[in-house]
């Protein structure tokens, strides 16, 4: 496997001359030009243009790589502004790690950017031409997009077999390791291999692991936020894949560095060995400077008809609960009903219809359900939808409306459409292509995105900075997830969050819990996890809320129960906040931390 330049250019026996220049270096003289020039002299032409000749030299002069170690790629990327830790990571990979490294930054610090910088630099230097990038299927298009748009690297998503021959190919691991692709890939020489989500390679018995081991590659980057999930062997395997022998043989590694699966020894040495192949940037303690979240609770009073429905449903739910003799686990659909009634009549209606269908024909419940439906019939307008409309018109900017319910989503779509407001839906059930399509429409021509799902990989909505929580999930993490779609690295504006809150309903309590007690909207990222973790010993906040809801005889009792919940949340929050900034307390975690540096991140 010689460097490919020498092999491919051979046109005549004298076209390439190799001579010893000194003890460690050979001189390769490429003489193809000589043969061509001789031919043109013999035939008296054709001759090229003098200006072109000069332009060619000027082009080469401008592209000249003047030094071994100065980063050259930034000249070619006028629109990219990497963060300092991303630049220093790229430099380290290039100059100290010779292009084989594990990039193990914490989530959200831009591993893709770091990999892109390294790749671009090698491309610019002419050290890399053929590149294979293996990522989870859901991230293929995102990688292609980022490399093209941010780095001007002509990456393509592999779709057809012939596309493996392109210079920079992005594909999913599952495709690549399967026949007939596998054999094609194993027959290539890749100047660079990049693997995202590389923690999936921790087990050396898997086909993924063996496949990657067999690929022929010069430079190699493995990207993962979690290089160790369970035990030290995972780390050993990952590094062995990259550079076999770096940590010695398996038995040596165990003898030198492992006390127990999860407990390392000779930490200093291990740390040194690790830092020569792995870079891990962590968020600095409190160093995260995100833009501001500006929270506004919009208080609404329900119309008389809506209030009537709310009261009727609340009464119905409590009655059912009392009849069941306090067995609240079977009350799931009733809780749902209680929550839906805060969202829209459409949502309640659907659930009621389903409940009706499930109930036996002669059950006394049926007329009662029907009664509720009658309440729905009386409602002419949706107070929340009207207010939302008003808000959107006022802000005159892109906005995402989140709701928990599909029926509410449909209703809002139709309601907005009838008022000439362009909105597009987004939900979990859509396939990848449709999601991308909706995202494009939102970016391009729609002012409003109505989403039922906040999770999922690869939704970047930084171009939007308004969120309306049409209704609030009872699970704080889901609320945080919603906000996190917009309020994340790369968001340059302050983010406005509007919580719709109907007075005199359970919603009022939820907003107060999340906003005032947990202070969810202003917490430092990561802090919420700790508070919730401590609070939810055995029972989730959602469950506790449901219980409080069902067990309270009247609204004052409910208020008291919720106040109790709120107080314990406040207490835990102040506990968490007063403690030392959280350090990962396991020995492996400490080890990982020692390898990295913490960085101040500013969007």
């Amino acid at each position: 496997m010689q460097p490919p330049i020498e092999q491919n250019r051979g046109e005549g026996p004298t076209s390439l001359v190799i001579r010893k220049l000194n003890a460690s270096v050979d001189l390769h003289l490429d003489r193809t030009w000589y043969n061509e020039l001789q031919q043109r002299i013999d035939r008296n032409g054709p001759w090229d243009d003098w200006t072109m000749y000069q332009l060619a030299v000027e082009a080469e002069q401008s592209k000249l790589i003047g030094s071994f170690d100065e980063l050259q790629c930034m000249r070619s990327l006028p629109n990219l502004e990497p963060m300092p830790h991303q630049m220093s990571t790229a430099r380290k990979v290039l100059n100290e790690m010779s292009g084989r490294a594990i990039l193990a930054d914490e989530v959200g610090l831009g591993k893709t950017i770091e990999a892109g910088l390294v790749l671009k630099e090698y491309l610019v230097r002419g050290l890399v031409r053929r590149v294979l990038i293996l990522v989870p299927a859901s991230l293929v298009l995102q990688w292609v997009r980022e490399l093209n748009q941010k780095f001007g690297i002509p990456a393509v998503a592999q779709k057809k077999e012939y596309m493996w021959q392109y210079d920079v190919v992005v594909a999913s691991m599952d495709t690549a390791k399967r026949d007939p692709h596998r054999d094609i890939l194993l027959a290539q020489d890749y100047d660079m291999l990049i693997i995202d989500e590389a923690h999936k390679l921790k087990n050396k018995k898997t086909t993924n692991y063996q496949f990657v081991g067999q690929l022929r590659k010069k430079y190699c980057l493995l990207l993962t936020a979690t290089p160790v999930q369970n035990d030290l062997d995972e780390l050993y395997n990952l590094i062995t894949l990259l550079k076999p022998g770096q940590l010695g043989g398996q038995s040596e590694f165990s003898a030198n560095f492992v006390v127990d699966k999860r407990l390392p020894k000779n930490e200093d040495q291990l740390q040194e060995a690790l830092s020569s192949v792995m870079i891990r940037n962590r968020r600095g303690d409190g160093g995260i400077q995100f833009t501001k979240r500006i929270v506004k609770n919009i208080e609404l009073t329900l119309s008389a008809e809506e209030q009537a429905l709310y009261d009727a449903v609340t009464g119905f739910v409590r009655q059912r609960y009392d009849e069941s003799g306090g067995d609240w686990t079977s009350m799931l659909s009733l809780i749902t009903l209680q929550r839906e009634v805060c969202s829209s009549r459409d949502a309640v209606f659907l659930t009621l219809v389903n409940l009706f269908k499930k109930t036996a024909e002669d059950s006394p419940l049926r007329p009662k359900i029907w009664e509720l439906v009658e309440f729905i019939r009386n409602i002419q307008a949706n107070t929340k939808a009207e207010k939302t409309m008003e808000l959107i018109r006022e802000m005159n900017d892109k906005v995402i409306v989140f709701t928990e319910y599909r029926a509410t989503q449909e209703y809002l779509l139709q309601y907005f459409r009838s008022h000439n407001l362009v909105a597009v839906p987004y939900r979990g059930g859509m396939n990848r292509g449709k999601k991308d399509w909706m995202m494009d429409l939102f970016r391009g021509r729609a002012q409003v995105l109505i989403a039922t799902e906040a999770g999922g990989e690869g939704i970047n909505l930084q171009f939007c900075h308004n969120i309306i929580n049409f209704d609030l999930p009872w699970n704080p993490m889901r609320v945080e997830q919603r906000i996190g779609r917009v309020h994340r690295l790369g968001q340059e504006s302050d983010v406005h969050i509007y919580n719709l809150c109907t007075l005199g309903t359970i919603e009022e309590h939820i907003v107060s819990l999340l906003h005032e007690k947990i202070n969810l909207f202003e917490l430092v990222i990561g802090e919420l996890d700790h508070i919730i973790e401590r609070f939810e010993k055995g029972e989730t906040l959602e469950q506790r809320l449901s219980k409080a809801m069902l067990e309270s005889g009247d609204s004052s009792e409910l208020r008291k129960k919720i106040d109790d919940l709120g107080n314990s949340l406040t207490r835990i929050r102040s506990e968490v906040e007063s403690e030392e900034p959280l350090h990962i307390t396991t020995p492996i975690g400490a080890m990982m931390d020692a390898v990295g540096q913490s960085v101040e991140v500013r969007p």
Partner: protein, 350 residues
Amino acid sequence: MNDRQVHKFVQRYLETTECRIMEKSPAHFLVKLSPKADRDLTNRPFYWGFVDRTGAEPETMSMLLVTDKNKYDESKASEKGASVASSRGGVITGAVTTQPAVNPSGIQATPGASGPSGATQPAGGIAGAAEAAIGRSMGFIHGTLNTNVRVPREDLHYGSRKLEQLFESAKANGSYLCLFQEPDKKNSHPLQSTAYTAWLGVNYKVEFACDMKREELHSFGVSLATGQCAEQFYDRLQSLRMTPRLPPNVHTAKNGLTLNKATAIAEQTLERKLRSYDYEWADAAADRLQLELATIQHYYEPLLESPDEEVRRAVAEQFKRRQDEIRWQYEPRVTVSAINCGIFYLQGIG
């Protein structure tokens, strides 16, 4: 190259390829490409294959080449703002189009194209949607591949793909020269013949590579009459006026050297120079190489003693592959190739 240098470069390229510049400012060019430039820049090999085989009259593309994005967008925005205010009242204010409309008013993209440029405006929306649709399936699609846009826009900053294509085109069309120095008009006597000497001129690129890389350019001229070797030969050529035609009243000195010999002289001169360099980087790379080889040897050797032959074979294969990879990655080498070269007839005997 800064924006201004890029602009200058592009202008000279367009002029020398005989493209028709329909509109220009310090921030952009609107051009109808010449067949030569179209072949090199528009990625349409099938179209040109068709033209070559059928002899059809080629229809070249027009392009908007923007050399200073900010300035261009600014000027367009102010222009557009004025025209929108006057003609149609803010139809698309809410929508953010991904690609600004590229068809500047008053210019017809192809001869005989009908309708005012305003008519292409809605088509831009469709093109945008088409682009987005392809983008969803492929992740990204480069602007020039989208044939729905009549005049594709290219931002030519340093490092952009289209500028890189211009570079390649310049290299492909400026590789081999035969030029004569233009004689000074003043001194020339109509009856006197001036002696010219043929020189071999080569512009070398020298690459010092291991897992890292650095480059140098060297330009040599070797007199085919005497074998004299001159450095910085390219700079010398640039200070002269050159012409592809043999000037009148000129005679060339007899060549004393073959091209082969002249090449050898240029190479020797370069090699002598390279020998005098510091090769600490190469020694360091060789050390890294040895260290890496030792590391994997230490790792694989015990595994090679496995009693299972199957395992032994697999390990040996892996070991070999890894050795090859390490050499490929680290082996220090100096590569010399020519950017371009030519025969240059210069005044005087040298």
